[in-house]
C-alpha cells in the first residue's frame, strides 16, 4: 500500500510539473506577443558583422 501511495504522489508531482510548464510557456507566449505589438515600430539595432576575410583566416 505505501508503495502505491508513493507512486500516486510521484504521479501527482509529475502532473503538477507538466501543468506548471504548460502554464509558464502559455503566459510567456502571451507576454511576448503583447511586447511584440508595442516594440514593432522600433528600428532594429545596428549590426556590424566581422569582416569575412578575417573570419576565414581562422578556419
Amino acid at each position: 500500500m505505501p508503495l502505491r501511495e508513493l507512486g500516486a504522489f510521484l504521479l501527482l508531482l509529475v502532473v503538477v510539473f507538466i501543468i506548471g510548464n504548460l502554464w509558464f510557456h502559455m503566459v510567456e507566449g502571451v507576454l511576448d506577443r503583447i511586447k511584440g505589438l508595442f516594440l514593432r515600430r522600433k528600428e532594429p539595432p545596428a549590426w556590424h558583422p566581422l569582416p569575412p576575410e578575417e573570419e576565414n583566416q581562422d578556419h
Binding site: 503566459v27 558583422p49 566581422l50 578575417e54
Partner: protein, 161 residues
C-alpha cells in the same frame, strides 16, 4: 601521476582559441570605434535577471549580453560594444566619459561588477572574469592581465566613490 595531475588540474585554457578571439574582439572594436587602438580591451557581460511568479509556477530567467569593453586611461573613457559569443558581429558603441557620467563604482554584492550610471535613468553593470569556459554563453578569452589592468584603472582613475 600524469593522469591524476591532469584530473586535479581542472580545465585548461585553449590559448590558440583565446588569442584568435582576442584578435576578433580587436577587429570588431576598431571597426566601430574611431582610433580604436587607443583603447585597451577586455571582454565583459551583463546579466538581465527577471523573476516571475505565475501562481504556483515561479522562478527566474537570466539573459546574458556579451560586451567588448574598451578603456582609455588618458581620456578616462570607457567604450562598450555589444557582441555575441562567437564574435560574428557587434552593435554600435556607447561611450562613458568620466566627466559626463553620474557615478561609477565597483559592486561586490550580489555579483562582482563594474557599475556605471550615465544618468539617473539607467545603469550598466559589467561583469568580467579571467576566463569563462562556456562558449555558448560567453566569449572564450583568457584575460587575466587585461582584467587586472582594467580593475586598477576603474578603481583608481574612473570610479567616483
Amino acid at each position: 601521476m600524469g593522469f591524476f595531475s591532469k584530473l586535479f588540474k581542472g580545465p585548461e585554457v585553449d590559448m590558440e582559441k583565446s588569442n584568435a578571439n582576442a584578435k576578433k574582439m580587436r577587429l570588431l572594436f576598431n571597426q566601430v570605434v574611431e582610433n580604436g587602438d587607443d583603447y585597451r580591451l577586455i571582454y565583459g557581460y551583463t546579466e538581465d535577471v527577471s523573476r516571475f511568479n505565475y501562481g504556483f509556477v515561479h522562478g527566474s530567467k537570466t539573459k546574458i549580453g556579451n560586451l567588448i569593453v574598451g578603456w582609455n586611461e588618458a581620456s578616462q573613457t570607457i567604450v562598450v560594444v555589444p557582441t555575441v559569443p562567437d564574435l560574428s558581429g557587434c552593435g554600435d558603441p556607447t561611450w562613458y566619459r568620466r566627466s559626463e557620467i553620474l557615478k561609477a563604482y565597483r559592486n561586490k554584492y550580489p555579483t562582482d561588477a563594474f557599475v556605471i550610471y550615465p544618468d539617473k535613468k539607467g545603469y550598466i553593470a559589467i561583469n568580467a572574469y579571467d576566463w569563462l569556459e562556456d562558449e555558448s554563453l560567453y566569449v572564450y578569452v583568457s584575460q587575466e592581465e587585461e582584467l587586472a589592468a582594467f580593475t586598477d584603472f576603474f578603481l583608481n582613475h574612473y570610479a567616483t566613490k
